[in-house]
Symmetry: C2
Subunit: 371 residues, 2 copies
DNA sequence: CTGTTAGCGCTTTCAT
DNA sequence: ATGAAAGCGCTAACAG
């Protein structure tokens, strides 16, 4: 007989401490279910004494809200606004909206009425106008995909006054007090990109960095942070690569052609390319049509077009920032907050996924398989 | 007034087709709720006519099972067996078990009785013995973490005879008919590792590959596939690196010291290192204590020890294969199958995550934030 | 302010 | 074989 270890654990409902229910809490606190429910949902109309006694019990026992069970009898309707940059199919913001929708499907029994507002993220005036409109809308909560700092701060101030909770996706904005934010750490993102690109190119290779330009404002906060992370890495590691900052215009796409041609004519050796926004595929296409080969390239975001370019081998690494996850959890968190008023974790940094043509096929979005 | 686009979509319960319930189906089919339920759960005692008429309705409408709602009134108890290699804290199989536990917590209202059996994955006799024991156990379903092919095939045959459904995690086994499997594509994994390591080392650098040796059997299927992917990449890309295959003994760890010393004495230039099992940290430690520096290293799996070594910079890339996700979905899928008999997707390949010291902190396991 | 009660969608028991 | 009815844990309306 060989030595062996056959741990045999019985688990779940049987040996675990039995699940505690509202009625259990009610009994322990010497009140009725109704009163416990009032306390749990902050509905008021509860005597100080009753509240105290219930809260005491709640501290002792480990009651777990089950939003799914609650939701079947929930009658409240929630008006939730979503304000983000415009959504085009297969692109970054579409994934965020996907995640939001997915949360609504998972909590299908919760009555929520969604109002979606979008603005042109490259045009500050569009943002202002949309925000202005939103400020007057009746709502219980709002999920914001911010890009212009000052405008967002103003919007948030008005939300604060009206005591409307808000959650950010994509990036956090300073000088606001959101319930939570779901975002990548953009600085680290840039830092990591620098490490990746320098690891696959010879020393001294020039690196061209593309950043989006915007109407009426400087670069997006996210891009600034990524760029900072990028340059910090190079400095810290005494990299000698020359950095070429190239503007990238989404509003006037015909300019880009020119920037690119100028870039490649000015360089005797082919530079490496880093794209800090999600339009990497545009540059990949330029390289393809102009038969420029052997360019090492790292881009942001798993848009349909970028994924295609990655698979073709035009892009070496694609960095993902879990947009579906951001949207999903922003909405989920908001619903749980609205329903249970339960405290939520404010800082939520998402994964930075590194995708290559080898592992891209296994990347999960909600279209594949759900969370 | 600036041009702007402010799409305003109302959504969810309001404008969407209203959710369809059991009672709706019952009415449409001209039967009672009870009968619909009997059909949905395959409980029998339904006339051919009733069944047909219900199935017809089911084809037309889009009924969505909500396991959470079902579970509050579900009375059946399910006995589920889990059979995997031994679990040590912070290691690969612990994460799989974590995921399984997490699914049970999410579906806390479903009564499941879990029995966990483990065996020594490096000792075929231990596996045989454990499987033998399992074969006699009364159960409704089993989740298997297979390592020895033939033994698993035998176990599965017996399960097939008893009509007990089984799901694999970690890897699929040929010549069996599981309900589903959740696994990385190990071949692609090895292929990707080859690409990564060669991208960060000079041409001609030798590469040492560590594989676990086992008692009474050849290498694990997973390792063989990874190695195949690895060598295929090198061949396909005409890489000239010399490959040094080094055995790695988990059962006799004192041997490894010797293998390593021999390796580094035989090499004039420091080789790169690839570890195809999850014990990379062991080699990282050896390098540290022996003051060997500048080694490029890629290892499998986000064990606590490997993560530490990654953060210290001893490991360059760590490849993750979503063990929590595997366990979670194996159990979730099994429960949904048991409860609703609903057909499930058989092939489920998980993500291959590339982790560096930059993005490791954002990696989500269930300890962090849940799916 | 608080207990009671009806009811959410679903499963299961119990007559028929 | 089938419908009616009770009950799961929870919320919300209703008396008091």
């Amino acid at each position: 007989m060989h030595e062996h270890k056959c741990i045999k654990i019985k688990s779940n409902f049987s040996s675990m401490r039995k699940k505690i229910r509202i009625i259990d809490i009610a009994k322990m606190a010497g009140v009725s279910k109704g009163t416990v429910d009032r306390v749990m949902h902050n509905r008021g109309n509860v005597s100080e004494a009753a509240r105290k006694s219930i809260e005491k019990v709640l501290e002792q026992v480990n009651y777990k809200h089950n939003i799914h069970v609650s939701s079947i009898s929930l009658k409240s309707r929630y008006k939730i606004v979503v304000a983000t940059p415009e959504v085009s199919p297969g692109a970054y913001w579409a994934s965020i909206h996907n995640g939001i929708q997915h949360a609504l499907e998972e909590y299908e029994n919760v009555r929520v009425e969604l109002q979606v507002f979008t603005y042109n993220q490259y045009d500050i005036y569009s943002c202002r106008e949309t925000y202005e409109q939103i400020a007057g809308v009746e709502m219980d909560a709002i999920i914001i995909g911010p890009t212009f700092k000052e405008e967002t701060v103003n919007l948030c101030k008005r939300m604060d006054e009206r005591e409307i909770p808000y959650i950010f996706v994509d990036s956090n904005i300073e000088d606001t007090s959101p319930l939570a934010f779901f975002s990548a750490d953009h600085y680290v993102c840039g830092y990591m990109i620098a490490k990746l690109i320098t690891s696959i190119i010879p020393d001294h290779t020039n690196i061209a960095i593309f950043q989006a330009v915007r109407t009426g404002d400087r670069s997006a906060n996210t891009t600034i942070l990524r760029k900072k992370g990028f340059t910090d890495y190079l400095e810290k590691n005494k990299c000698t690569n020359l950095i070429l900052s190239i503007p990238f215009s989404v509003m006037e796409p015909e300019d880009n052609e020119m920037y690119l041609t100028r870039l490649f004519h000015s360089q005797k050796d082919i530079p490496a390319i880093v794209v800090l926004n999600s339009r990497g595929n545009f540059i990949a296409n330029y390289l393809e049509t102009n038969l420029i080969e052997g360019v090492k390239m790292i881009c942001m975001d798993l848009t349909t077009a970028n994924i295609e370019a990655l698979k073709k081998g035009q892009i070496d690494y694609l960095i993902g920032q879990e947009p579906e996850y951001q949207g999903f959890y922003a909405m989920k968190t908001m619903l749980e907050y609205l329903i249970f008023k339960k405290p939520v974790q404010k800082q939520n940094y998402v994964q930075l996924d590194i995708l290559t043509r080898e592992n891209i096929d296994f990347y999960k979005s909600f279209n594949n398989i759900m969370y």
